[in-house]
C-alpha cells in the first residue's frame, strides 16, 4: 500500500518537524519554531484561534509552503528534496473550501483525478476511487455533477478525492465549516472510519466539540507556536490554555470543571465520560 521508509530506526514516524519557522512575504512570521513528531495511525487535532498558524503549519507539512528555517521529514525523507506532487503520495490535504478543488463533470471523474496524477494504472485508479467513494458514502452521487451538490456532499467529494490517492496522512482543514448537525455527524463517522483503516489523521479546526468526539491527541497553537501538545483529556483539563488560545471547550467540559469540587475530574470531553463519572454503577470512566 504505502512504501515503507528505509534506513530509519523508528519506522512508525511518518512526519517529523524540526524547529520550523515560516514567514510570509511582507515579513509576517506565522510559525515561530515548531517541533513535532507524528507517528502512523495517530488522530491529531490542531486547534487554535484564527491566525494562530494552524493552516500555515499544515501547508508546511505537505510542501505547499516551505519552512524559512528548520526542516520537515516525511516518511524518512527530507521534504525539501520532494515536490508537492511527490509529497501528495504520503500526505493528502483536503482544503477548507471544496469549491476550490472541484472541477470535473462527475463525482467519479473528480475522485479519479488525484490517483491519475500520481501515475497509477487504470485498474488501480478505478479500485482506489471506488474505495474512496464507498468509504465516504458517495455511491448514490457517483454520476452527479460535483459542483451542483449541496455543501455537505461537496465537502465529502473533496475528501474522497484526497483519500483516492491513498496517502498515509490525511490533513483536513476545517471540514465542518458551514455544515448542519446531521452532516457533521455523518462526516465524523467517515473520518473515524478512515483512522480505523490505518490512516493518520490531522484535523485543523476550532470546533472543540469535534475535537472531543474524534481526536486522540491535541496540539494547541497560539501566535505561531505549539503551546500545548497532549492527549485529548490533558488538553480539555487545561481551561486556561484553551481560553488564552481563543478556544471554547464544550459545555460538558465546563460543567465538569464547575463540578470539580465534588470530585468530578476536569478532563471530561464528552457527555458519556461525564455520565460514567456520575453513575458509579457504570463502572468508572474510560
Amino acid at each position: 500500500m504505502i512504501p515503507r521508509p528505509s534506513g530509519r530506526a523508528d519506522e512508525d514516524c511518518i512526519i517529523v518537524a524540526h524547529d520550523i519557522k515560516f514567514a510570509y512575504e511582507g515579513g509576517i512570521e506565522a510559525l515561530k519554531g515548531v517541533n513535532l513528531r507524528i507517528t502512523r495511525g495517530e488522530f491529531i487535532a490542531i486547534v487554535g484561534g484564527n491566525g494562530s498558524g494552524k493552516t500555515t503549519l499544515a501547508k508546511n507539512l505537505n510542501g505547499l509552503l516551505r519552512p524559512t528555517s528548520g526542516s520537515v521529514d516525511i516518511a524518512g525523507r527530507h521534504a525539501s528534496k520532494l515536490t508537492v506532487a511527490e509529497i501528495a503520495r504520503f500526505v493528502g490535504y483536503a482544503f477548507q473550501n471544496p469549491d476550490h478543488q472541484l472541477f470535473s463533470g462527475t463525482v467519479e471523474e473528480e475522485v479519479r483525478f488525484g490517483p491519475k496524477n500520481l501515475g497509477a494504472t487504470d485498474a488501480e485508479v478505478a479500485r482506489q476511487a471506488e474505495h474512496a467513494i464507498s468509504l465516504m458514502g458517495l455511491g448514490e452521487f457517483r454520476a452527479a455533477q460535483p459542483l451542483s451538490l449541496p455543501l455537505g456532499v461537496r465537502r465529502k467529494v473533496s475528501i474522497a478525492s484526497v483519500i483516492a490517492m491513498n496517502p498515509q496522512v490525511i490533513l483536513l482543514d476545517e471540514p465542518t465549516t458551514g455544515l448542519d448537525a446531521g452532516e457533521i455527524v455523518d462526516l465524523m463517522g467517515c473520518i473515524r472510519a478512515l483512522n480505523e483503516e490505518g490512516h493518520t489523521l490531522i484535523l485543523i479546526t476550532h470546533d472543540m466539540r469535534l475535537v472531543a468526539q474524534l481526536a486522540k491527541r491535541v496540539l494547541v497553537m497560539a501566535s505561531g507556536r505549539i503551546v500545548l501538545d497532549s492527549d485529548r483529556e490533558g488538553a480539555f483539563a487545561d481551561l486556561e490554555i484553551l481560553r488564552s488560545s481563543k478556544l471554547e471547550p464544550p459545555p460538558v467540559t465546563l460543567l465538569a470543571h464547575r463540578l470539580s469540587e465534588y470530585g468530578i475530574p476536569r478532563d471530561v470531553a464528552t457527555p458519556e465520560q461525564l455520565v460514567d463519572c456520575i453513575v458509579p454503577a457504570r463502572g468508572g470512566r474510560r
Partner: protein, 262 residues
C-alpha cells in the same frame, strides 16, 4: 495573478489634488499630441515632460520600474524590428538578398517607440496619482452610466481577492498531485481546466453574493442618485485644463492651419 500591484501611490502633490475629470481630459489631450507630432526631437521633449510629471507625482522607483518594464520591452522590439519591415527612403545602409535597411527606417522605428512610450507613460500619470474611486467617479461625471461605473469599481476592488483565490485553487490542485510545469501540452492544458473551472464557479458564486448584498442595501431604489462627495472644479483645475487644451490646440493650429511640419 500574484504580484498584482495597485499603481496608486498615496501622496499630496498638485497632480493628486487635481480634479480627476481634468486629469482624464489632460491625459487624453496629451495622447492626441503624441500622435500628432512626427518629429523625433519634439517627441523626446514630450517624453521628458511626461516623465518629469511622473516624478512630480511622487511615483516610486519600484512602481515606475514595474509599470515601464512592459513598455520598455515593446520599445526595444519596435526599434529592432521596424527597420527590417519598413526600408523606405535613402541612404541605404545595408542590403543583402531581401534584407534592406535604410536610415529613415531606423529613425522612424525610434520615433514610433518613443511615441508609444509617451502614450503609455502619460496614462501612468493618471494611474499613479488617482485612486480607483476617484477615477470611477470622474468617469461617471463625464457621462458613464452609474451601473457601469459601479461594475468597474467592484471589478477593480476584487482583483486582489480574485488573485488570492486563484492561488488557493492552484494549491488545492497541487496537493492532489497535479504538476503545472510537467507533462505534454495536452496534459498541461487539461491541468489548466482544473484551475479554470473552480475559478469561474467561485467567481460566479461571489458575484451572486455581491448582487444580493447590493440589493439588500437598496441599490437602485431611487432613479436619481445623490453623491456623498461632489466633485468641484477649483481655480487651479481651470488653469490646468487651459494649459492642457493649449498644449494640444497650439500645435494643432500650427500643423493643420499654418502647415508647419512638426
Amino acid at each position: 495573478m500574484t504580484g498584482f500591484v495597485d499603481l496608486y501611490t498615496e501622496s499630496n502633490t498638485f497632480l493628486h489634488r487635481m480634479d480627476p475629470r481634468v486629469k482624464i481630459l489632460a491625459v487624453l489631450f496629451l495622447s492626441v499630441l503624441a500622435l500628432m507630432i512626427g518629429n523625433l526631437e519634439y517627441l523626446l521633449i514630450l517624453l521628458v515632460a511626461i516623465l518629469l510629471m511622473l516624478v512630480l507625482g511622487r511615483a516610486t522607483l519600484a512602481k515606475t520600474y514595474f509599470a515601464m518594464k512592459l513598455v520598455l520591452r515593446v520599445m526595444i522590439l519596435i526599434v529592432v524590428l521596424w527597420p527590417f519591415f519598413n526600408p523606405v527612403g535613402s541612404p541605404v545602409l545595408f542590403e543583402y538578398w531581401i534584407i534592406k535597411i535604410t536610415e529613415p527606417g531606423i529613425v522612424t522605428g525610434i520615433e514610433v517607440a518613443v511615441r508609444i512610450a509617451c502614450l503609455a507613460s502619460v496614462w501612468y500619470i493618471l494611474m499613479f496619482t488617482t485612486t480607483q474611486r476617484d477615477l470611477v467617479r470622474a468617469l461617471v461625471k463625464l457621462g458613464l452610466r452609474f451601473d457601469y461605473g459601479l461594475t468597474l469599481s467592484i471589478s477593480l476592488r476584487f482583483l486582489p481577492t480574485f488573485g488570492s483565490m486563484v492561488d488557493s485553487i492552484r494549491d488545492a490542485q497541487r496537493a492532489r498531485g497535479m504538476e503545472f510545469d510537467r507533462g505534454s501540452l495536452v496534459r498541461r492544458s487539461k491541468n489548466y481546466v482544473a484551475v479554470l473551472v473552480p475559478t469561474v464557479v467561485s467567481a460566479l458564486r461571489t458575484a451572486d453574493t455581491i448582487s444580493l448584498a447590493l440589493q439588500s442595501r437598496a441599490y437602485g431604489a431611487r432613479k436619481d442618485r445623490t453623491y456623498l462627495r461632489a466633485l468641484r472644479m477649483r481655480p487651479t483645475d481651470y488653469v490646468a485644463l487651459t494649459i492642457a487644451v493649449l498644449a494640444v490646440a497650439l500645435p494643432a493650429v500650427a500643423k493643420y492651419v499654418l502647415q508647419i511640419e512638426l
